[in-house]
Symmetry: C2
């Protein structure tokens, strides 16, 4: 039939025939080429698959993940690619769903080292870009150097402290709330969390403190309320905590709230820092690690599409505000770590090995 040409090669069909075809289509209720048949024929789907954590719906509650998604969406909208959110629900059927999804490539929001979904992605044979970690053969990685950033922020947060503590994301998939000292970072299966713990430990040791004395509180979710109650527990310890580095601004805000209730002055009796430089962190004069998750999302999308982006998005920086005792609005740039260099000749913001 000429009908295919009518829809695809407008120039290779006479206006007359074209009109006839369109008319017939209208009568028959034909809605144009079927996309599924098309992608079978073409061998591609013009769709990117996005895999969001252990359960899809957690991700939408997480402003960082949403920002990352916005970056992917930007590139997809520009290139005309669909963005297919894969229905991950934390069950055994997740792997099946990954292999049953019609996409050209995958983008994965950071997950545990041993998430079976990663095997399913490998098994699908399609290109994959992972954000944050874990590092995997065949997967491209988009990530800041979380360890270096945590180290830099740890140095600010813990400077002068005697009883430092860390407020962490969950340490394993059980997501149990934990409060303990001397946690071994290497036992943590979430690579981003692990790298940050390692970075904080680096700072503790650089400051001459003992890691085994450092209390780590891990919340079940990235939730301000939970952070507040953990902080309250920390303030009630025999030797009360005097510095807390939190892995998100939400957690840090919970700490600030608890500090207000406990009438602790920040930063004099308590130094606090967060992560991701949210609007709220600026509002509350909270020192925070800044990174451009939107740019990272866009980068991940470009890599997934097989583009070779020459320009890297900004790397991380430490934004120092009043909560860690330095003059407000001072901004210290970092990122010239051994792993990722800034400046004219900086390396591309991509790694496919070794970070973990």
């Amino acid at each position: 039939m000429t009908v295919s040409y009518t829809y695809n090669r407008v120039d290779r069909v006479s206006a007359e025939s074209r009109e006839k075809v369109l008319q017939a289509a209208a009568e028959l209720g034909y809605a144009g080429p079927d996309p599924a048949a098309r992608s079978l024929r073409y061998g591609n789907t013009r769709t990117l698959g996005v895999i969001l954590g252990e359960h899809l719906t957690y991700a939408f509650d997480n402003p960082q993940a949403v920002t990352f998604l916005a970056g992917i969406a930007e590139v997809c909208a520009d290139r005309g690619y669909g963005m297919l959110i894969v229905p991950i629900a934390g069950g055994a059927e997740d792997s099946l769903r990954v292999s049953e999804v019609a996409v050209d490539a995958f983008i994965i929001w950071t997950t545990t080292d041993d998430d079976p979904v990663l095997d399913a992605v490998s098994g699908s044979g399609r290109p994959a870009v992972i954000h944050g970690g874990p590092v995997r053969a065949g997967f491209k990685l988009v990530s800041i150097d979380n360890r270096a950033a945590a180290f830099a922020m740890g140095m600010k947060t813990f400077a002068g402290a005697h009883r430092p503590a860390i407020l962490s994301f969950p340490l394993d998939s059980s997501r149990k709330t934990v409060l303990a000292a001397g946690i071994d970072p290497d036992t943590v299966r979430f690579p981003v969390t692990r790298q940050r713990l390692l970075g904080y430990r680096d700072a503790i040791e650089a400051l001459g403190l003992d890691w085994n004395d450092v209390v780590v509180g891990a919340t079940a979710t990235n939730n301000e309320g939970e952070a507040r109650s953990l902080a309250e527990t920390m303030f009630a310890l025999e030797q009360p905590i005097d510095a807390i580095a939190a892995m998100s601004d939400d957690l840090a805000l919970g700490v600030l709230d608890a500090a207000t209730s406990a009438q602790l002055t920040v930063p004099e009796t308590l130094s606090v820092s967060g992560w991701d430089n949210s609007r709220a962190s600026a509002l509350h004069q909270l020192s925070s690690v800044a990174q451009n998750l939107r740019a990272q999302g866009a980068l991940a999308a470009r890599l997934a599409l097989g583009e070779e982006p020459g320009l890297a998005p900004d790397d991380w920086s430490v934004v120092v505000r009043a909560s860690t005792g330095e003059p407000a609005t001072q901004r210290t740039e970092h990122g010239n770590t051994p792993i990722r260099r800034m400046g004219a000749n900086r390396e591309p913001f991509v790694r496919s090995d070794g970070l973990s």
Copy 2:
């Protein structure tokens, strides 16, 4: 080949053959059935298409849209459906993209009455659910009664005011910033915005005020900073504004900020209300219209999947806090409007006609 059975009807193939097939697959690098071919054969894709406003990336910056998405995601994760975000970029090619996308049904985040994307969805012949509006033959609608809710909140916000004003979403797709009196709501092409303006006008008239005196400020984006500067202009008018109903909490927070700078006391000299009952609205004692966008997202997804949900999500309510001059934390339930009744026999939270 027996290979298909290996993957689909595990019971109809001997363990031995199955093993052989799997082994061969591994050697040949066969990654399992191709999803595109599968959906061609099955005639369905197990994927829901989501269309987000005039440009995809705006939506991710809009916490309300994100909450709605979370609701869709919840249902998709549960049912094993993919959630395909259609790459809408505000150009002529958007319609093409809609028809080229392999999905079983569409969910549309509210857009203008005449958005051509809607025609493309109609033309695709696939089921569609629209959130907020516009109302269209063949599309299911999930929406609160924005007019009734705006009326109820208008009555609280404008009570006792002499110079009321409204802070609105854009009035047309040009998204120009506007500040004018006596706007005719019926000229506004965004149905949600139109309904809310109509509701506020109903309140103005019920309070014996003149709509032609009511200043309407429309921001280009849902942005606190822009709201602040519009509010500042309003405060500098010959007869300064003494009540502002805003269509989002973000806008209302900008007003509160401007009020603080202008040393206006809230609610004594300025009454303010917002919309969507965000965390920040509670924090700042801002009266706000509450609706459960997450439940609406979930409902939209169930409808798109052809389910007939018996239970409707909660309807809207007016949450009165200190910013409109009533005792804090008092909560007035509404929703028993002519259009959508609450209570034991309430109508399903779905309409497919007439709201606009």
